[in-house]
């Protein structure tokens, strides 16, 4: 078997280089085409009619006026008379028409009579949830009661983190063209290779007759795996319109209502420690909701990271709400777990009168990777200037108070199933093809770097093609498994192809294929540049037949190959200012220290962390889905009151990738999710440190901060 191992760190020429993303220029100049931009000949526009009510039964539905509208080519009822609707935004009917305006006019002309039913759209007050609340997990270890009696300090608090949405800038949707000989499918997805077969199952078309294509995706964050109901609807509208292509993307309101969300978490936490800061006991009662399906949680995951605390008593309740359903949100559950855990521990440190940095360091032994967390805490503290800037809670003077806070994270990784084909042409050109997708993380670029490294070529010599179902299948981009999957499969297919090239030229170089190497655009006897051929000359020896070799990463057994790994740690420290007269929080700086094994492209890795930090700042300071129990409506399904941060709100972000040789040796590990976990906790703790009070919930707007400061003057 050929040797697939990564070359040693100091010998790499393409991997580990700060290469700018290959599609960066295309994206920043608007040349990159997203499927929501697609303007196929004869394109029709699809629009959904959705429920205005949180809970209702359809008494009757009359589509006759809509169907008569000139320009309407097809109309489908999704939920007919008698059907129950369980959340605002639930799909009722779909329309395709020659223009978007006609489709919208048609939707407005569909007459629906509703019987409005009782709803629950708020979970903040568990007492009001009644039968909608269900026990969802209990864990007890050790003897919590005794441990609380013996603890030197006990702190108690309520911590709340609301439902937020994914806010993909490219909304969910697709274009579909249902031709007699097959279906062309242009989704916006994190799962290009497999999504066509899934669509096929729901519309009764064999996978072989579905061709899926996507060059770019405008954000997914865990919410874009399945074809969804609107995918099937779009296909059916196309079929019913004689096979004309239909483009149906959710509008912004629908996107915020039904395209997924991150569940909330409310936790009443009591924690105890010894004088020296050792955490001895944890007790939490929590509840959550992500919509009609409730809000489950792995109770055993608490306290987050510091899970090996001896005495624990945990219970969790899931609340079902009449709101759109949750979907995986960039490290599902981890933001919430990190936020409630780090907040409670920070409060416990304050109770002990202890510097939280010392407190977290004291407890790294309760984590699964003590040395890594120790290193990262110290590194982050250093970058945040902790020893100079940190003061006790509320000790900062003046109306604008400064504070620091810590958050921690952990995540898995490994790599999804992935097949890759490397082609070496007789003219020397190289193609690398796989049915993966680039979520904006730089997957394309990293694939090119791995192939370039392996073949001893410049990155520009590699033509990477992804995003088409005719290519070798690659897994869904979820769970931070993409870089693991594609780097391993690309490495293998490229090593395999190179081996074939070695075999073709070995006779001329007077040696054995095993003794050859590919370096700097040459094929040569190992260590002997004089005995070699240029890459082009070598490829010419192939005559008329190109080399096409496959490589495969099998998720289940991948760890044995030694190319990829799992398990990341991260520490983030926030430096904030709080204007205690207005409750306004400003992030001065967010420091992120993160490991992810062997880093293929440090620039892209850092960029990934920057993006994740920005998301965390949004969620810490601004983001929240606001529902109204009186009307059952979400009141801010728009980008005006569902607030994301702008540049001026973000502050400095300092990223340090933990690329020590020991980390590198572990192999490639995904980074999609890990850096999006710890920032909210860090910012919330910094605000507590600055203001001197714990704000029970995020986002940290004046509304909440002033409340906590007791400055409500009513």
């Amino acid at each position: 078997m050929p040797d697939y191992h990564w070359p040693p760190m100091d010998q790499r020429r393409a991997i580990g280089k700060r290469v700018a993303r290959l599609d960066g220029l295309q994206k920043s100049t608007g040349q990159a085409k997203y499927n929501s931009d697609l303007n196929l000949p004869g394109l029709l526009f699809g629009v959904l009619l959705t429920s205005p009510h949180a809970h209702a039964r359809i008494k009757s539905i009359d589509t006759s006026q809509a169907e008569k509208l000139p320009g309407v080519t097809s109309l489908r009822v999704i939920q007919g008379a008698g059907k129950e609707l369980n959340w605002q935004g639930q799909e009722i009917a779909s329309v395709a028409a020659t223009t978007e305006n006609i489709a919208r006019d048609a939707v407005r002309k569909i007459k629906v009579e509703y019987e409005v039913l009782p709803h629950l759209v708020k979970e903040s007050d568990l007492g009001k949830a009644g039968t909608r609340a269900k026990a969802a997990g209990e864990v007890t270890t050790g003897d919590p009661e005794k441990a609380f009696q013996e603890a030197d300090a006990v702190s108690e608090g309520l911590y709340a983190i609301p439902v937020i949405t994914h806010c993909c800038l490219e909304s969910h949707g697709q274009a579909v063209e249902w031709k007699p000989d097959g279906v062309n499918y242009y989704p916006s997805t994190q799962n290009l290779s497999a999504i066509g077969a899934e669509l096929g199952r729901s519309i009764g078309v064999p996978a072989a007759q579905i061709h899926s294509h996507m060059d770019h995706v405008g954000g997914g964050f865990g919410s874009k795996f399945p074809p969804d109901l609107w995918g099937a609807e779009c296909a059916q509208l196309s079929k019913a319109s004689g096979g004309r292509p239909v483009r149906l993307f959710l509008d912004r309101k629908q996107e915020l209502l039904i395209a997924g969300n991150r569940p909330s978490l409310f936790a009443k936490i009591k924690a105890g420690a010894k004088k020296d800061g050792t955490l001895t006991v944890w007790q939490s009662e929590s509840w959550a909701s992500g919509g009609i399906g409730g809000g489950g949680l792995n109770a055993d995951a608490l306290p987050y990271v510091f899970r090996n605390v001896e005495n624990r008593k945990i219970n969790h309740t899931s609340v079902s709400l009449n709101t759109g359903s949750a979907r995986a949100w960039r490290a599902p559950s981890n933001q919430q777990l990190s936020f409630v855990t780090c907040s409670a521990l920070d409060d416990l440190a304050a109770k002990l009168g202890m510097d939280p940095l010392a407190f977290f360091l004291k407890n790294v032994n309760l984590s699964n990777r003590p040395d890594v967390y120790k290193y990262q805490l110290e590194k982050a503290a250093d970058l945040a200037n902790w020893s100079k800037l940190w003061q006790g809670r509320g000790a900062s003077k003046g109306p604008i108070k400064r504070g620091l806070g810590i958050g921690v994270s952990m995540w898995g990784g490994l790599g999804h199933d992935s097949k890759c084909k490397t082609t070496i042409n007789p003219d020397g050109s190289v193609a690398v093809e796989l049915g993966s997708q680039d979520l904006g993380t730089g997957t394309r670029t990293c694939i090119a770097q791995v192939a370039a490294e392996t073949l001893g070529l410049p990155i520009a010599a590699i033509k990477v093609t992804i995003g088409d179902s005719s290519l070798p299948a690659s897994g869904a981009s979820g769970g931070s498994t993409t870089i693991g999957g594609v780097s391993a499969s690309t490495r293998k297919s490229s090593v395999n192809a190179l081996q074939k090239l070695f075999e073709a030229v070995a006779p001329q170089l007077g040696g054995n294929a095993d003794q050859l190497e590919a370096v700097d655009g040459r094929i040569q006897v190992k260590g002997t540049p004089s005995k070699g051929l240029s890459w082009r000359e070598a490829c010419r020896k192939l005559g008329v037949s190109k080399i096409e070799e496959m490589g495969e990463n099998v998720s289940r057994t991948a760890i044995r190959d030694g190319l990829i790994n799992q398990g990341t740690a991260g520490v983030q420290i926030a430096d904030v200012s709080v204007d205690v007269e207005t409750g306004k929080v400003k992030v001065n700086k967010l420091v992120a220290v993160q490991d992810c094994g062997l880093v293929i492209n440090p620039k892209l890795a850092e960029s990934q962390v920057y993006g994740a930090c920005i998301m965390s700042i949004c969620a810490a300071l601004l983001e929240e889905r606001i529902t109204d129990q009186q009307t059952g409506r979400v009141l801010n399904p728009d980008m005006e009151f569902y607030k994301l941060a702008g540049l001026a709100d973000i502050g400095d972000i300092v990223v340090h990738m933990d690329i020590r040789p020991d980390m590198d040796k572990r192999g490639v590990i995904g980074l999609g999710e890990p850096p999006a976990i710890a920032g909210i906790a860090a910012i919330a703790n910094a605000v507590a440190n600055a203001s001197g009070v714990r704000v029970a919930g995020v986002p940290l707007t004046p509304y909440r901060v002033l409340d906590a400061l007791g400055r409500r003057t009513a």
Binding site: N101, E581, T582, G583, D628, T631, D649, Y703, R712, T713
Partner: protein, 324 residues
């Protein structure tokens, strides 16, 4: 959005003729940054839009009677870059605070005064007074951004940032219909509607706001202080616009107007009276802030805005007096 007719007049007379006797018939289109959103959300559905941006006499910023005339279609960007506007810091700060370059390039002064409230119940179709089955939704609902003064039956807040600044500076507005011309004090232009059919400004469907008349800036110290949740593309939670005349180190006249706290810009009369004869200091500014919020009636979630109003007044006064 419903289909609509589009009128594109070149003269004021033509524009006025294109308007109708009800809002359903016709509405003015200036920068379109608000009216188009309202139409997309099916909150407004006029049969005709009358574009006024090609009406020359509605534009421009020019000296007028010792002060300044701001044409109704002058954009935020024009206001931000105009040298004469700099002599009115209260206006300039309000202008720079507006949203984003895109909104500043399109949004107009007249549009700012006539834009509709952002109350989320109103924008979701529950009417200007936000009711369901005859019951008001705001008092027991999600009211963190709503009124702390003058609430009931309207609880929305006036969205205009220019309004409070103009009132503080004693501006007047000129309005015209096909048959009439009138001038109103900016302070009287904003109204709290008592019923669903009333509008929150003194404007009739057949009228156009033609311009804003500002008195001379000389001798007046003005400032606006805004508090926002986020720094861009956002509405203030509270603003305070103040204008002071100071002689011999003492305040001889004071205007203190709060924005985003009531269905109309809210003149803080008690604060104005308190300031007369006082020198502006941390202490007097603080006290004026406290005076300004006396009588506030916060709702279930928005008591924090009382604190914000207090601080905004204090900081605006200190800024106006050059002590910030």
């Amino acid at each position: 959005m419903q289909a609509f007719e589009y009128a594109n007049p070149a003269t004021l007379a033509e524009a006025l003729k294109s308007l109708g006797s009800s809002w359903d018939e016709a509405q003015v289109l200036a920068g379109g940054t608000d009216i188009i959103s309202l139409m997309k959300d099916d909150v407004a559905a006029p049969k005709r839009l009358v574009n006024i941006k090609n009406v020359k006499e509605l534009g421009g910023i020019a000296p007028h009677a010792g002060g300044l005339r701001i044409g109704a279609t002058a954009t935020f960007d024009e206001l931000a870059t105009n040298a004469a506007v700099r002599t009115y810091p209260a206006i300039r700060t309000a202008v720079l605070g507006v949203a984003s370059p895109q909104i500043r390039n399109m949004g107009t002064a007249g549009g700012d005064l006539c834009q509709r409230p952002r109350c989320w119940y109103y924008r979701a179709g529950f009417g200007l007074l936000a009711t369901k089955d005859g019951q008001p939704l705001v008092p027991n609902g999600e009211n963190r951004y709503h009124a702390i003064f003058g609430g009931g039956p309207a609880y929305f807040v006036s969205p205009s940032s220019l309004g409070p600044a103009l009132i503080a500076l004693g501006a007047k507005l000129t309005l015209e219909s096909a048959s009439d011309k009138r001038t109103v004090d900016a302070a009287k232009f904003f109204l709290a509607p008592g019923s669903e059919t009333e509008r929150e400004i003194d404007l009739k469907p057949n009228e156009i706001v033609t311009g804003i008349l500002l008195p001379a800036a000389a001798g007046e110290k003005s400032a606006t202080y805004e508090i926002r949740e986020r720094e861009m593309l956002d509405w203030p939670l509270v603003t305070a616009s103040v204008a002071l005349k100071i002689s011999g180190g003492k305040v001889s006249s004071a205007r203190v107007v709060l924005g985003h706290v009531a269905p109309m810009p809210w003149v803080a009369v008690a604060a104005e009276q308190y300031l007369l004869g006082k020198a502006i200091s941390e202490a007097t500014a603080e006290e004026a802030g406290a005076e300004a919020v006396k009588g506030a009636q916060p709702l279930s979630q928005n008591a924090y805005k009382v604190q914000l109003a207090k601080v905004a007044v204090k900081r605006a006064l200190l800024a106006a007096a050059g002590k910030a």
